[in-house]
């Protein structure tokens, strides 16, 4: 019986196909990609679980509206080329999304199978088809004839790249400005290669370049060329700001300046962007061989940091978190992967003071926490328990408690309204800022969020900017 003839009941009887992955003992000291991806047979079997809902909630659950209802059945039918074309048309960063999106909170969370069975593994299928496509040179992407309109995009992270790709496909002349020496933003400096190999970023950025998008690295907008200069002498008619959530927060306790304490941004940038994990690296990172490493925070960045610490040889890598494991904002998959690799999780503790010798970190004083009344986030507020301080020996501490918006553009763009939190104020329906011709999206608007939400914001703004340019605004 071919898959197209299967009944809904038969489809639902197929169990969700697990993602093949490197064994924990192999991967915990290696930067090789953990998830290995489906083979064609597994992908077809998984795609066959889709019951082709008449009104597919998965598509509505995707911030960039990928036509999941079309590409998944095509995979089930073995039409990989057709499925690849749909995904390439709908998502310029599909191989990235298939790897790092929190699908359980988006498309898969909306899947009707989720309640009784487990959802269709849409993320794994998106990854499969995007990889399949890339390995065959990539589906052609249609680009409209040139409109003659010039648009600047500030930041080459997920928001900026999505906005740039969408505008380029509509025929506009797009230049992306990136402050660092490599494109990708948080994809390049933040997300480790064992979750997102660098060749995947390079390939997807390359595809966006092939659409005609110009990419200028080493360009810090606000310091060199302001938004006003882009809109003035530089001749751009519109600007999209996707500059990301830039400035790391620190805990604000004594000893945080000791050598051995760093922000997750610094630690991950040294390893990911500056390749400090290589024996021939020119940028140093703390020597973690045999070290005790504590990571403070419970989000995906904390998980990325602690798993990276293991891979750099840490003897003991511990997440110290002031709430419970259930309250961690990290993806479940990340927490499970970390624990499988030997990461320790110490919930309900908060750091009180970093202690050191000769200016170097040697210990941290912690206090036990208990859960109080629910706070603004709906989680129970952690409060310290009196006289429960204790000391742990650590060599390196990584602070992963979030970022504040980067202040450079705020300081240099007088008429761009910001919220009291320092994020850029936009009309949520359009992405338009208070400054004419200027749009914004991603973490610089929302504060630290996810890759896919940033992409959704980039796509929304691109649509609005396109309409504005066409109507001669």
């Amino acid at each position: 019986m071919t898959t197209t003839e299967m009944s809904t009941k038969e489809r639902m009887a197929i169990p969700r196909q697990p993602m093949p992955e490197l064994a924990p003992e192999t991967r915990r000291r290696s930067f090789a990609e953990v998830n290995l991806g489906y083979d064609a047979e597994t992908a077809i079997r998984e795609a066959t679980r889709c019951i082709s809902c008449r009104r597919p909630p998965c598509v509505a659950g995707c911030p960039v509206g990928v036509r999941i209802d079309l590409f998944v059945p095509m995979i089930a039918a073995g039409d990989f080329a057709g499925a690849a074309q749909i995904v390439a048309d709908d998502n310029a960063l599909a191989a990235i999304c298939g790897r790092v999106c929190p699908q359980e909170a988006q498309c898969e969370g909306a899947c009707v199978l989720e309640r009784k069975h487990r959802s269709v593994a849409i993320g794994n299928l998106e990854r499969f088809i995007a990889d399949w496509d890339r390995e065959r040179g990539g589906s052609p992407v249609e680009v409209a004839p040139p409109t003659g309109h010039r648009v600047a995009v500030v930041g080459s992270g997920p928001a900026g790249l999505t906005c740039a790709a969408d505008l380029a496909r509509r025929g506009h002349d797009v230049t992306v400005f990136e402050a660092l020496h490599e494109p990708g933003g948080v994809l390049a400096y933040g997300i480790p290669q064992y979750r997102l190999p660098r060749n995947i970023i390079a390939a997807e950025v390359g595809r966006i370049r092939d659409m005609g998008v110009a990419l200028e690295t080493d360009a810090v907008i606000g310091m060199a060329d302001t938004i006003d200069e882009l809109l003035g002498d530089a001749g751009f008619e519109a600007v999209f700001i996707g500059s990301g959530a830039g400035a790391p927060r620190f805990i604000g306790i004594p000893g945080e300046d000791l050598v051995g304490v760093s922000s997750a941004n610094e630690f991950l940038t040294r390893v990911n962007l500056m390749k400090a994990y290589r024996p021939d690296a020119t940028t140093p990172v703390y020597d973690l061989e045999g070290a005790h490493v504590a990571v403070f925070g419970g989000g995906n960045t904390a998980m990325d940091s602690v798993r990276t610490a293991l891979r750099l040889g840490a003897d003991r890598a511990v997440i110290m978190y002031r709430r419970t494991v259930e309250d961690m904002p990290a993806r479940r998959e990340e927490v499970v992967h970390a624990e499988d690799e030997g990461v320790e999780i110490m919930p309900l503790v908060a750091p009180v003071e970093f202690l050191g010798e000769d200016g170097r970190l040697t210990r941290v004083k912690l206090i036990r926490m208990e859960q109080g009344e629910p706070d603004a986030s709906g989680r129970r507020r952690p409060t310290p328990i009196d006289s429960t301080e204790f000391v742990e020996e650590i060599d390196v501490a990584i602070v992963a408690i979030g970022n504040d918006p980067n202040p450079i553009l705020r300081r240099t763009t007088a008429d761009l309204a910001h919220t009291s939190r320092g994020t850029i104020e936009v009309d949520p329906a359009t992405g338009a800022t208070t400054k004419r011709g200027v749009y914004a999206g991603g973490d610089i608007v929302t504060g630290g969020a996810t890759v896919i939400l940033a992409m959704g914001a980039g796509r929304l703004a691109a649509r609005e900017m396109d309409a504005g340019l066409r109507h001669g605004e």
Partner: protein
């Protein structure tokens, strides 16, 4: 990529490079720096921009070959390209009419002091520049500063040029005879700390240009954090100049020693003594 237009030796191991970097040149103001990677495999090194030419689109940097990467930058010949030049970064020096301003440059830190001294003089201040070095050959930019019409006092630790002594000896003498309204210091940490201590009892406003370890230079990593008046500040976006009387210099010195072992290995690899 940024092409090196020409280079010259201004002292032992100290090289001046003029680099084609139109966007940086167009926006640069005194006190700002650039981040440079000589090759696509290099670390990112923050270096002060000593001068720039807006219409010709070049910047000038002065680099002392103290490590592998600075040695690579210094040995880049005219016509060759540096992989990355990013800037200008940091908040420019405050240029206002203060009255009598003493600008203190120690060693290669004089490259930082130089453009600020010129800009302050241009704004109508009476500027005295104290240029210090361990020995005669390490005193840089003296001729350029004199050519710009500034009063220059040279000091050397060994007495091989100018006043035999430290920059603070010269500074103390000036404070006694012709008290400045403002002092700006750029150089080694012990020098900047000593300058701050020399002016503190007299209540003379004093700025120091700090040089912490830095990666991105845009406020993203927090590696360059310093304590100023007890507050955490990022030298890349809140500095590099801060009130010298409020800077925790001990902390800065400790944090700058974070990677000493690594730096030693890199020097050995690069064949630097």
């Amino acid at each position: 990529m940024a092409r090196v237009l020409d280079t010259s030796e201004t002292g032992p191991g100290i090289t001046r490079l003029r680099v084609d970097a139109p966007r940086v040149a167009r926006h640069w103001r005194a006190g700002q720096f650039a981040i440079i990677r000589p090759t696509s495999e290099s670390e990112r090194v923050p270096l002060t921009i000593a001068a720039a030419h807006r219409s010709q689109g070049w910047i000038e940097i002065i680099v002392q070959a103290v490590g592998r990467t600075t040695a690579e930058i210094a040995s880049t010949p005219a016509g060759a390209e540096l992989a990355d030049v990013v800037g200008p970064l940091g908040i420019p020096s405050e240029i206002d009419v203060f009255g009598h301003v003493v600008v203190v440059g120690g060693g290669v830190g004089t490259a930082v002091a130089y453009p600020t001294a010129i800009a302050l003089a241009g704004a109508g201040n009476r500027v005295t520049v104290i240029v210090g070095g361990r020995t005669k050959d390490l005193v840089i930019l003296e001729d350029e500063l004199r050519a710009a019409g500034l009063t220059v006092v040279v000091t050397t630790d060994d007495g091989s040029a100018g006043v035999h002594g430290l920059v603070t000896d010269a500074l103390t003498a000036i404070i006694a005879t012709d008290p400045p309204d403002r002092v700006i210091a750029a150089g080694p940490i012990p020098m900047m700390r000593a300058v701050a201590e020399a002016t503190r009892p007299h209540g003379i406003a004093t700025m120091a240009s700090l040089n912490p370890i830095m990666i991105d230079g845009t406020g993203m990593c927090g590696g360059c954090r310093v304590r100023v008046g007890g507050e955490v500040r990022f030298a890349c976006i809140d500095g590099p100049e801060f009130d010298a009387h409020l800077v925790d210099f001990d902390l800065l010195a400790r944090r700058n020693r974070a990677y000493l072992d690594f730096e030693r290995t890199q020097r050995e690899l690069a064949g630097i003594a």
